[in-house]
Symmetry: C2
Subunit: 211 residues, 2 copies
Amino acid sequence: MPRRMPKSHDELRLDAIAASRAMVEADGFSSVTVRRVADRIGCSIGSIYNLFRDLDDLIIHVCAGTIDTAFEVMSADGLPDEPHERVHAMGRRYHDFVLANKNLWFMLFEHRAHDGRDLPPWYAERVGKLLAYVHANVAPALEKVPPDSRIDAVNTLWAGVHGIVTLGAQGKLGIVTAASAADCVRLMIDMVLAGHDQPHVSFDGNGFGRL
Amino acid sequence: MPRRMPKSHDELRLDAIAASRAMVEADGFSSVTVRRVADRIGCSIGSIYNLFRDLDDLIIHVCAGTIDTAFEVMSADGLPDEPHERVHAMGRRYHDFVLANKNLWFMLFEHRAHDGRDLPPWYAERVGKLLAYVHANVAPALEKVPPDSRIDAVNTLWAGVHGIVTLGAQGKLGIVTAASAADCVRLMIDMVLAGHDQPHVSFDGNGFGRL
DNA sequence: ACCTGAACACCGTTCAAGT
DNA sequence: ACCTGAACACCGTTCAAGT
């Protein structure tokens, strides 16, 4: 194989996305510029616009990769069968993932398309896949909630977990708090599930000792 | 009074902050540029740097104003006396405020100082004042929680409310949900407070105390 | 002492000119 | 057909020159 084979369109696209992702991880998403990406992957400024519609489009592709990674992490093997424990495991995975990928994750929420352009369908699909997985695995722990309200209950619980994880990762979880974000996530889940499921709340801490 | 009296340093500062706030409200915080502010308040680019250390410093002053407004809204007269109802009223006020001031509120969380420069003490003080007010008014509804854990319980509940309100304002509260963010906030508060009214659910038993 | 705006080093995006 | 980079209209920040 020749040493420096000219890269194909698709290879260059993947290079640009990978380079951008590395920049986001290292210095946040505002450090990604067309000029720097072009420089990093060894092409001209103008060529970036042959690979992507504009910078927004490139950024969205990095975001899509982040969502895919999140899905893989969340859906990896090893989730407990017991519904309550499963929610705790999901919360823990979400927390750990966001903490390990702060800049990439924040970009999902902070990035706004320039005009009112809405997200492409293939992107919305991937978000939907991740959300559907969360719903499928959280809903069983809320089976006492009437089916009509269950979607809202899951959304409420998970939005709560998201709030804790986000504020925690931003260092804004209360002024002075002894409890870590991971502890608060656990507490949130326990509080919500307890509110809905009086009889048997197993709070022995079992299954979570692998902290 | 003369028609066009030259403005004092302090007047110009307030003008710049007000102009910036109006820009954020209208078009988001990335629409605030030194050139546009200078143009709007009728001074030169360079003069902005006589009023503020840099653009970050100006932005922080807008943020401080947002926090002050939030405090005024949250602490206005008319909160119910009953602790649970009071938490609901707080949640509702928070939700309404964020919805009515999306761009200003998002700026608080999305704005990052350029280098690792940390926020000035007078700014942290104002954030602390708002958080302290929330704590003082939410804590009574969690009086069954042991005092040692109560701060963490309030943080957990309020971070949850924050998550719902934030995702709701971003239009990201679930893919398709009938319930509005306001309904989810109500549900969250009910679930958490209900979880604590169950006698057998205590903070000591759930492993939360270990830190 | 402060105001000014040209200058500097960036930025996203476009497009005529090359291959 | 695609790659190139100068050009355009911006950006934050600085600073010599004015008052």
